[in-house]
């Protein structure tokens, strides 16, 4: 077995908004080729972890390593250049730009083969191809989510961060997103995603972390956590 290459490590992260600290020492790591999920109750700080990685909030303590380099307190736009692609939970498309322009913007940091990528995306999401000239603001909630995903895939990312990519999607698309996630991952991109469709998420994940109130509560492989009775009851909505 070859040694596992770590893509990103978050170590002892303390961070929050202004005065209030939300994360109290979080540890997360993503290795090459992995899909890693973060799950947990609402308000646990899952989105906050992603925001911290992207330098969008103040980090009080701890380190974040991307490919061996510390990226704490580097401006957001540079972090993106370093190969992180991110899809926020809400407000994740440019509403007055057309679908196509949204995707072009996704390719901002590396615009070289935009046309090829565009074609790929329209194949991946045929619905978007039909609406390519329509402003993203007039799409339905689910359609927007697809635009947001596609937009983040326009560059060859070293790691993809997804904040609830399937929220609001129909079962069909949800499954498709999960299989897309697998596909993307299969092409060699490690993925860190926050999900509330916990069972399905765990199903596709290599490993997962469960956060509660800003602390790491459990972690393990997807299957381990799925089988754990307590985890299932507390976080996966299983009825006993």
């Amino acid at each position: 077995m070859s040694s596992i290459k770590s893509i990103m490590t978050v170590k002892d992260l303390f961070a929050g908004y202004g005065e209030t600290e939300i994360l109290h020492g979080i540890n997360i790591s993503v290795n090459d080729g992995e899909i890693v999920s973060i799950i947990g109750p609402n308000g646990a700080g899952k989105s906050t972890v992603l925001k911290a990685i992207l330098s969008q909030i103040k980090i009080n303590q701890g380190s974040i390593n991307l490919l061996g380099k510390n990226i704490v307190s580097i401006p957001t736009s540079q972090i993106i250049t370093k190969g992180i692609s991110y899809v926020p939970q809400t407000n994740n498309v440019f509403v007055s730009l057309s679908v196509e322009e949204n995707l072009e913007m996704g390719a901002w940091v590396n615009p070289n083969n935009t046309q090829v990528k565009l074609q790929e995306m329209y194949e991946l999401f045929p619905d978007l191809g039909e609406k390519r000239k329509q402003p993203a603001g007039s799409l339905s909630g689910g359609q927007r989510q697809m635009v947001a995903m596609a937009k983040s895939l326009m560059v060859d990312a070293k790691i993809l961060l997804l904040d609830e990519p399937t929220a609001g999607l129909s079962p069909k698309y949800r499954s498709e997103i999960f299989s897309t996630v697998r596909k993307i991952n299969g092409s060699g991109v490690p993925i860190l995603m926050v999900e509330q469709n916990a069972k399905q998420a765990l199903g596709v994940s290599d490993r997962a972390y469960i956060l509660v109130d800003g602390f790491n509560r459990y972690d393990g492989t997807g299957d381990e956590l799925l089988k754990d009775k307590e985890v299932a009851r507390m976080f996966l909505g299983s009825r006993d």
């Binding site: 991110y86 440019f94 913007m105 560059v155």
Partner: protein, 316 residues
């Protein structure tokens, strides 16, 4: 051919309206951009315009001292543009940037403060008095006059007006191309939609904002110089006088729409000039005392019945 009515109308009402509209339109571009991208009504915009005109005048005088003749204002304005852009960028850096994440009203107030500061500085440096920009009166362009009279018409257009109209058209086309077809232009629109999202998409928002000020500053100086060429004098209050009609033009056209701004500028320019036209009987349609009310009435009606502007722009 044309009866007398036509010439009079074209020469005294249509062309002046067009010229005024062009100036408004150029000023409105900067306003529409800051409104769209930085999301605030920039009250200091008129002052950038005014400062540009004063700087241009200074360079005209300098050229007279060192070269012995007055350059054409459109040449003298080149260094003025650089200085004005520098001014706009530093104002942004020190006075607006700290408020990027604050509510709009704060930055609107800051721009109001900047308006006072810039204007007072100009008044302290250059004095509050009128300064002659170009002497004398502008005679109609003789080539155009001969040409049109041989066609049995009579066009009385001074060359300065031709410069203004052509200049505006060129700037507009360039600007529209930039916004819809260049990378930075699209990024401007993206930032205008959502700065946060732009940031996490990897767009350097600050760079886009700087580009905005550069374009806005350029248009403002051009508007200022055109205006100075037209009125032939400059004055420290000229920016503020133009500000409200320019706002009106920007909104009328649809915020974030450069062609809208042109259209808005033209509508306001025409309306102001044509309100004095004796449409019925001999007297002006509306007492010229109400002239500045015309722009506002149109604006208010427009806002009420079609808030997105002539070309659908962004509605907040």
């Amino acid at each position: 051919m044309w009866e007398n009515f036509g010439f009079e109308f074209v020469n005294y009402y249509f062309i002046p309206g067009l010229v005024l509209g062009c100036i408004y339109a150029l000023g409105a571009i900067g306003i529409t951009l800051t409104f769209g991208i930085l999301r605030f009504a920039n009250f200091a915009h008129g002052e950038i315009m005014m400062t540009g005109a004063f700087l241009t005048w200074t360079f005209l005088e300098i050229s007279n001292i060192f070269l012995g003749f007055y350059m054409h204002p459109l040449i003298a304005c080149t260094p003025a543009i650089f200085i004005a852009i520098f001014l706009a960028l530093s104002v942004d850096r020190y006075f607006y940037k700290p408020f990027r994440d604050s509510p709009t009203i704060i930055i609107v107030m800051a721009s109001f403060g900047m308006m006072l500061i810039i204007r007072s500085l100009v008044q302290v440096i250059w004095g509050p008095n009128q300064i002659t920009f170009v002497k004398g009166i502008a005679k109609p362009n003789s080539y155009l006059k001969d040409f049109s009279s041989s066609m049995d018409m009579m066009l009385l257009v001074p060359s300065k007006h031709l410069f203004i109209i052509l200049g505006t058209i060129i700037i507009m086309l360039a600007f529209n191309y930039m916004l819809t077809s260049t990378r930075i232009g699209k990024a401007m629109r993206a930032v205008s939609d959502s700065p946060d999202l732009a940031k996490v998409t990897g767009i350097d928002v600050e760079q886009v904002i700087r580009a905005t000020w550069i374009v806005g500053g350029f248009c403002a100086v051009m508007a200022g110089v055109f205006m100075a060429m037209d009125t032939q004098f400059i004055m420290s209050t000229m920016g503020f006088r133009m500000l409200l009609p320019m706002f009106a033009a920007a909104i009328l056209g649809g915020i974030g729409r450069p062609f809208g701004a042109v259209l808005g500028g033209l509508v306001i320019g025409f309306a102001e000039e044509l309100s004095a036209y004796p449409w019925f009987g001999n007297g002006p349609l509306l007492s010229p005392g109400y002239k500045s009310g015309v722009a506002f009435s149109i604006l208010v009606l427009m806002l009420v019945f079609r808030p997105s502007g002539i070309l659908k722009g962004r509605v907040f």
